[in-house]
Symmetry: C2
Amino acid sequence: MSKFSLYPVTLDGLDIEAKREEIRAYFHNTYDIFEKIFEVLKSDEIFYQKSEPTRHPMIFYFGHTATFFINKLVYMKIIKERINSEFESIFAVGVDEMEWDDLESSRYKWPKVEDVREYRKKVRSLVDGLISSLPLTLPITQESPIWIILMGIEHERIHIETSLVLHRQMPLKNVKEVREFNICPHSSEAVKNEMIKIEGANVVLGKDKSHNLYGWDNEYGKYSQYVDDFKTSKYLVSNGEFMEFVKDGGYENEEFWDDEGRKFLKISGAKHPTFWVFENGKFRYRTLCKLIDMPLDWPVDVNALEAEAFCRYKSKKDGVFYSLPSEAEYRLIYDYAGLRDIPDFHESRANLNFYHYFSSCPVNEFGFNGIYDVVGNVWQWSRTPIFGFEGFEVHPAYDDFSVPTFDNRHALILGSSWASSGNLIMKHSRYAFRKHFPQNAGFRYVVSNSDIKIEQDVYESDELVSQYCEFQYGDAYLGVKNFAIECAKIASKFVKNYTKALDMGCATGRTTFELAKSFNKVEGIDFSARFIGVGVKLKNEGYIAFSSKTEGDLVQKKRVSIEELGYEKVKEKVSFWQGDACNLKPNFNSYDLILATNLIDRLYNPKLFLESVHNRLNNEGVLILTSPYTWQESSTKKEFWLGGYRDESGKEVKTIDTLKAILGKNFELLHVEDREFVIKETARKFQHSVAEVSVWRKK
Amino acid sequence: MSKFSLYPVTLDGLDIEAKREEIRAYFHNTYDIFEKIFEVLKSDEIFYQKSEPTRHPMIFYFGHTATFFINKLVYMKIIKERINSEFESIFAVGVDEMEWDDLESSRYKWPKVEDVREYRKKVRSLVDGLISSLPLTLPITQESPIWIILMGIEHERIHIETSLVLHRQMPLKNVKEVREFNICPHSSEAVKNEMIKIEGANVVLGKDKSHNLYGWDNEYGKYSQYVDDFKTSKYLVSNGEFMEFVKDGGYENEEFWDDEGRKFLKISGAKHPTFWVFENGKFRYRTLCKLIDMPLDWPVDVNALEAEAFCRYKSKKDGVFYSLPSEAEYRLIYDYAGLRDIPDFHESRANLNFYHYFSSCPVNEFGFNGIYDVVGNVWQWSRTPIFGFEGFEVHPAYDDFSVPTFDNRHALILGSSWASSGNLIMKHSRYAFRKHFPQNAGFRYVVSNSDIKIEQDVYESDELVSQYCEFQYGDAYLGVKNFAIECAKIASKFVKNYTKALDMGCATGRTTFELAKSFNKVEGIDFSARFIGVGVKLKNEGYIAFSSKTEGDLVQKKRVSIEELGYEKVKEKVSFWQGDACNLKPNFNSYDLILATNLIDRLYNPKLFLESVHNRLNNEGVLILTSPYTWQESSTKKEFWLGGYRDESGKEVKTIDTLKAILGKNFELLHVEDREFVIKETARKFQHSVAEVSVWRKK
């Protein structure tokens, strides 16, 4: 690679064939870099090691970015055939340390590295072909099938950044130096920081749908806020500047840490930043693959909790209130610096896009109008938790990219790092992590009077999830009983053993909890983490809040607690997982009951689920399906419908008959009945359906 | 104009600014030609004359093509302000001689020609501006706002063609020759026709959404049919060839005419083709503006009934069965001729696009591989009634362009004429007229064994209309009574006089009929002729047929007769009209009742309707509104919602309060109640709503 990392393609242009070639180059460049960084792992055995006990072994990430392309393309019905359904289930989810991530590695048999390499080649060739053949008009919009390719590329760029963090966390014995990955060769004494005044102004954040660069859902929309005058540090906090805090006992003094920080200290036992190594009486510094003498003028790498603790420490010392910058303040710093968005920003001007180094560099190397490292070098933690701008909408291909992070616990990181490229270095990008996560991130501090007031209860602003909360946890309408509870009741009538139940397509989880009243263990699985988050929140925080539409945009706010629902005692039996019913991981098995309420007519290929579901049931296990058979092309391509069409001879095919044909081999049909359910759209409009409930016992 | 008529723009391309200029040139060319052809009217007074008693005076058409742009742009929410709401209501509908066309001219005060000219200028300038400013990406698709501009242009091209027919029907004293409108200067003796064999083949009709030329809704989709070998006449039937039929007493001999033909003869008193004039013992020929000696070798202009009569006459004489070609047979003639679609077809090769003449020309002037006038000269009537191809979908901006013609009574015309341009001369275009309509049309005959079997009941294939038929005329579901009947019952409780009622937003007309049980006269108005057609069909044909979805694509077919509904005795009190509640023609007034069921939350600007509705009521007249207040941006831009939002002070605004505020000035609120209604989507899924019914008496 002469130029290591390419800048992302723009969405507009005039020449379609040229645009295909740009996308192709950008795709291969991304795929190449991703594979290249795995060369730091000393041998294939290392792929099965974890960098962090709470994360997957590296083989997961190695497969994950390739399966992502296939899973999204299948889900969006752009391709019909999988390449390897096993890989595409086990490498599918579990990157974010979310409640529902399945990190119990012993549950999988990880494939051979060689096989994953082969698999990656097949995906590369398939995506390359699609770049030639998919319909393409300019500008590319979110509705374009090629957007899914760009999504896969940008997703892989994120994993280039985060995998480099994981590699850097690997014990030195597991990694080797790679010639192309040049560490910055110079460092010097710590530079003295100083404060620079930034004038207040009204700040407008968010980008328009017509913007000519790829964006994730959280970037679009609009947010405006008046920001008062404030001061910002000229440099990022260097190792040298942070050293004072460490030497002054900052990690031992609880007064500098909040609850979450103290919890982090307790669990991690941290006494200093994670990439510092105390050796022979002094601190050394871990780069990607080797230990070097402490570069005092490079930025310190810390998590948000450590950064906040430093601010408290320095505030006490100086008698001035320091904090991390807010997202809006950072935009004023960006403007003050006179920065331009890529591609107009030349990459030589900052430590990013792998242009200079595969490491940090001195905090006084790249300045912009007197402020240094406004972009590049290391990310800068902010005090703003990520939230959705006004007009926020999820992208249908990746509806849980952002929403589960809108929980007040994910802090935005600003500005990008030496390992950032693609969307990560765009002006409008917004990434957020849990505060205890290590990233290629440090911080700068500000003196500011502005408060952050983001009051969000994510599910109040997520219309579809709120509608489902109302359906499962809200009031009864039109005299129809709560469907989630009724389904659980029917289930307990037909089941013989109560060891373990699966609520497949659990949505917001009401039936999962309800089943826990009779079962010893209940697993709820849903495709979307947006929905799962509700059940998890109810279990962990003891309540959920949502909004119920009344008229137009007007809503009634509702809050339900675990006590009033009566699940306090059963909640520990319940767990939620993200998964695809058409390609479920092998470890989900040995159930006495599998309940799939209103699921089959929403699957992209329901036959895949039905043909293998018996394998996951114990002897005499029961499968219960409920569905109004509302087949629609937006969910299921016509060729995969189980009914609602005429066959070649002109005969009407009904879903119940197809169910009998598919399930008949392995199940006995015990019972069929109709059950109504009502989903409230507004105070005066309801979807009123009649599901057919069919109960099947494994032969 | 150096080149009289431009070829239409293609939808694809690479240069957006260049495409804007192409569209601009094409728009002005269209607008210019349309205005130019009105120069044949001798003076402004003539604009108030009718060419045919069953049509509007010419002033209507002069205004109509300009108001079309504005009405469609307003409806599609591309512009917010009207230019002249009076013009845009009186010039809005009534071109097709449909049951619901309001042709009672005495009901309007037609504006001055000068004012309409001024109005046309304003529209020209607005559209020109939009061509510069509307968002434009290539290729242009049906969803693009610029599509509405193209729709307006192609609509005007149609009226160029049909207005030229009307001008030609004007008495000679009313018209004058225009220098640029050159009549073909040559003619000769009749040429002897002969038959040419065409080989059978499978024919596939219909174009793809991605086709690079503008299309009307009826052109898209797919239809395939095997066509047997057949023979076609080499030439169109000339005046000379048709003369035999006339001289043999063809117009007097009923055996050559079917029922519809005999009815035409009786009403029209026709003894010969409409543009023949019998003068001093011989036939002369009417061109656009003058009478000329009979050009025996030019094609005869006849309607479909005359063409069919000729075929029967010739069949009897020759002992061979002649008929008009089917649409599929014509495609084989087209292929045999080796024709290419525009823009690859050079306009010099045929008598079309005003390239050669403003009249017909000899039938042996333009040949294609031995067959003459396959395109151009005059349209050719076919024996195929227009129908929707598989996959037919209406365009939301013009949902009743085609559907009301899918009635087995509109015959397709093929091939285009000297007066055709734009979409009219495209390979895939499909136009159909009632069989008694004069057009620039003649015919060629074929000897064919193929039958035409198009069984269509339009409303069976129109999902939305069928759903509404089921709602108004179908079964009751979920125990909720028929809403259309219940609304009529409520109305009769509160009304004092029963002279005349208006069912505003009548949809498929059930309430209109129901009200006729108590009112002397009931008018049903709806925006869409697709819906009105149901009520009209019930009134005229005594039944309606529709389909009711059960599961997926499966349907149950239903048929309801006027006898079982009990409307046989009241049907004459009922009439249906097309109209826009937000810009209703002034002649709809003097009602004792105005009922608007589930209308206000579907209007683009409901306030316009509500603020003036009292003017249309008699003293003590009653207004009844029913609505579930389901405000949605797709129907009503948020700024026009009557409720369902918070005002600037944060206060919730509810629709009922806004209704009280708007209507309170002129009405007393008599009564409010809730009424449920259920719309069936499938056998297992229903929209179940609760409308608020409010009854208002005019103060």
